[in-house]
């Protein structure tokens, strides 16, 4: 069983469900270690005191915050935990929403929530919440504190279990008003153009199948490591030239549709 990152309770009205949090993401990246070129030995990163020139144990380290005037204030883990003791242990459901209303821009990291105890009452409360959220097709919003940071969290049913996604707070997403989205009237496409572009999109449409998309970067990086191990030279591919925009949108759309129709009738 993977180590849980946080344990506490999920509270829903007066019902408390003891839960543990586990990541829902597996790190598949290739990780490199820093190696000393001279002797090929791995390098360790050690924490040293800049004043005394000695190595410092992890439990002798605290958090420092530099004020505008250059002074420093130190804050301990205990002091940070005491800021919101309730939310360090409880995810309190504040409201339920329709999942489709929550824009994916807010999603951060996905986790699983599992019952933290084998106690029958706890397991039944977990099951009840899972079942009811699946049935009502709603997701729950609440806040909790983990590792000295507060998170907005979205809890919902997925594959018979509860999944929690940490979310960005509204002020952590930038406004879109500074983005040039070509909204001036002169750029509004003609109906015929939109019809043709929609036809291209429909012709290229598939059912979403996440398994079909593979991480080609990871595979290539594995190959690079294998080549290097055999002593082969790694060549860096050339950069693509920037393509020119098509001058005539309608002509490009029509040619695309012709090509798509030709390939589907083949």
């Amino acid at each position: 069983m993977p180590r849980s990152l946080w344990t506490g309770s999920l509270s829903f009205g007066l019902v408390n469900v003891p839960v543990r949090l586990e990541t829902a993401v597996r790190d598949r990246d290739l990780h490199f270690r820093q190696i000393h070129r001279k002797d090929g030995a791995p390098i360790e990163v050690q924490r040293w005191c800049s004043e005394e020139d000695v190595e410092v144990d992890y439990d002798e380290i605290t958090h420092g915050y530099e004020l505008d005037n250059g002074d420093q204030v130190t804050v301990s883990d205990l002091e940070l935990q005491a800021i919101e003791p309730r939310r360090t242990r409880t995810i309190e459901i504040e409201q339920f929403v329709e999942l489709a209303e929550v824009d994916p821009m807010y999603f951060d990291h996905p986790y699983w929530l599992a019952p933290a105890s084998d106690d029958d009452g706890a397991v039944r409360a977990y099951r009840l919440l899972t079942e009811v959220m699946a049935k009502t097709e709603r997701a729950a919003l609440g806040r909790f504190v983990m590792r000295a940071k507060e998170y907005l969290a979205l809890v919902r049913e997925r594959d018979g279990a509860l999944t929690l996604t940490t979310m960005l707070f509204a002020d952590e997403t930038r406004p879109t008003k500074d983005i040039d989205a070509a909204t001036q009237k002169s750029h509004k496409p003609a109906r015929k153009q939109v019809d043709a572009a929609v036809a291209v999109i429909e012709a290229l449409s598939e059912d979403w199948d996440p398994e079909r998309h593979k991480d080609r970067y990871r595979d290539r990086l594995r190959k690079v490591v294998a080549q290097k191990r055999k002593g082969e030279t790694i060549t860096v591919p050339d950069e693509d030239k920037a393509p020119k925009p098509a001058p005539d949108l309608m002509a490009a759309l029509e040619r695309t549709l012709e090509e798509l129709q030709a390939s589907s009738s083949r």
Binding site: T23, Q34, G40, R124, R138, A148, T173
Partner: protein, 255 residues
Amino acid sequence: MARSIWNGTITFGLMRVPIKVHSATEDKGVHFHEVHVKDGAQIEHRRICSKDGKAVPYNQVAKGYEVKKGEYVLLDQEEIDAAAGRQSREIELEEFVAAGEIDPVHYNRGYYLGAGNDGADAYRLLHDAMARAERVGLGRWVFHNREYLVAVRPLDDVLALHTMRFADELIDADSLDLPSPSRKPGEREVKIAGALVDSLSAPFAPGKFKDSFRERVLHLIQAKARGEEPELPDAPEPAGDTDLMAALEASLQGS
């Protein structure tokens, strides 16, 4: 105008849409540095050779991938970068899917797209057509020497781009090994819990939720800067309710 972090072209079929990529998110967290408790001095991270115990200067550091216990294949940064493939300036939308089909766990980091040079008409056309078709385009994006699976979709007036998690990066619910209760939740419990969900349902209004912790951390820092010592309250134990039905009924009455 917001600064862009990448310029290139989205293609679908023979269509070319010049775009600029902008950050959509920003970190608002309170950041600390590591400090030695004893003397308040800053902590430095030093690279020490595990063999000779001496500090290693940066130009003596290579990247090693462990192929066997204790055996490393050394690579230069350029060799690692080669795995990104061709440094393409194009994001080809290879297929379109219904937006609602993608489970939110796949969405990783979000960006906004702006219209690139001479690309205003094409940008608007792609936006309006995707909005009408209610579809999201999928393609590959090479950014910072790494290839990503990305989804491009209309978001209000703009186009948004998201890097996506691959299926094999996600952990199944099966791995949780969930215990089963002695009996399933009863019909009445499900009904009352459903009523409670309904009574607590409201439209999603992201601005309603503020990061109160961030504010309080800053207050704590200011109080300590004035020489005040914060009180450390005992954390209250959350009340455990074992009678599920009674707790549900009481909750519904209270809501």
